[in-house]
Symmetry: C2
Subunit: 251 residues, 2 copies
């Protein structure tokens, strides 16, 4: 059963202001909820079909997770997916503070006002692949607990720490240990640029790029060269992927 109040909470969590108020977010689908349960995130409630529950009941009981069986119909009402997948969980947004200098890892991603949820989710997933432990987002970046971001991470949201903070402060913290690199359309060709770990790589907004205030702090302005006379730019998450790859490959 899904009460009116429960449904109201689930729907409200699609919006940032209610996620902030309740400090909760939504995780959907079998794979994602399994990853949530295995993670160190705190599970608030799980709503799922009976079939899903029967194969997980022991684990849920062990971990004292609050489970509510719902019908297919209720799942459709609760879900924001076109094809909901058996289960939906509410989880607590963890505390997030800037890592100390020694804990950042040798490769950090900094996002300056990324707006598209799919891009942020894909960047979190890519970061996980390339062993990036922290992503620092400028305050104007899309919320990492937006349902579209969460789903696009394919579970990496539970492993990579995403922290919202003024980029300038963080850059000050890592000054002297990490090379601060940024992706620019007029940067130096990455093939000849002297890139080296430890590094912090900045990816800018989808249409405006890296803001002026942050540009001033960049030590290494790099560019992924184009092999076409007509193309204008790469997608932000593809650019982030190629840059992470270059650092790791040469690393």
């Amino acid at each position: 059963m899904l009460s009116k109040n429960q449904l109201k909470l689930l729907h409200s969590l699609r919006l940032g202001k209610f996620r902030e108020q309740h400090q909760l977010f939504i995780v959907e689908g079998i794979k994602m909820v399994d990853e949530l349960i295995m993670s160190d995130f705190q599970v608030h409630t799980i709503y799922g079909l009976g079939d899903w529950y029967s194969s997980r009941s022991q684990k849920l009981t062990e971990r004292k997770i609050d489970f509510h069986e719902i019908s297919e119909d209720e799942l459709h009402k609760a879900s924001s997916l076109v094809t909901p997948n058996a289960v939906l969980a509410v989880a607590a947004i963890p505390d997030a503070s800037l890592p100390t200098k020694g804990k950042t890892g040798d490769l950090v991603i900094l996002l300056d006002q990324i707006q598209d949820p799919g891009n942020l989710g894909t960047i979190i997933r890519t970061a996980d692949w390339f062993g990036v432990r922290y992503i620092i987002c400028s305050p104007g970046t899309v919320d990492s607990y937006n349902p579209k971001v969460v789903q696009a991470t394919m579970g990496s949201i539970f492993r990579v720490k995403v922290i919202y903070h003024e980029l300038q402060d963080f850059i000050d913290t890592i000054a002297g240990t990490h090379q601060v690199a940024g992706a620019f359309l007029d940067g130096e060709d990455i093939r000849s640029a002297l890139i080296a770990l430890p590094a912090a790589v900045i990816i800018g907004n989808e249409s405006k790029g890296i803001s002026k205030e942050i540009d001033r702090l960049v030590q290494q302005r790099v560019r992924i060269p184009s092999f076409s006379v007509t193309a204008e730019s790469l997608n932000a998450s593809v650019a982030a992927g190629i840059l992470c790859w270059e650092y790791r490959r040469r690393g």
Copy 2:
């Protein structure tokens, strides 16, 4: 003015079966419509605000493009975007046939059942950046004239030719000239793999990867190595971007 029939046509073109029936698709927003007008695609009709028209009237008249002025309200009704942007065009789906062996270019992308519109759009955009002229899609791949795909290409849909055809046929055509490479989670580390142009790079379905029938035809099974013990896979469009980059970088 936007008639009921015009609105009905615009809405119907969100669905593949009507795009196929009419051989038309939708292009939205100032930048995209400008790219359409400059391209060699045939424009069927443009619906836009008066302000938009006044700055383009000469160009539209010269090219004998059928323009209808609509109100903000009508634009919102017609658009599939949350924030419509001044103009919306209907364009003809061009004829598409497999390139002859000499016309494929030195780098071709083959897509085996890519399902996510955002991924396909991003791959088309990435292909444009890396000088890929043709993308060959297996018949089960999402439609490249799906509005979400079109918008995600950022205009590259007008430059890169996307052709739906059995991949096997195309691979037969390029046999002997192009190295046929595919992205696999258990492939050879791309750092040591002997990759070389001309090449055809195959990207598989988001969850199932490259299908068995196509796997048999792959000469070079490559993998982008992970630098993490927890991550499971890369997003398909990020993987495509890194592979295109590797081919171009090593040249």
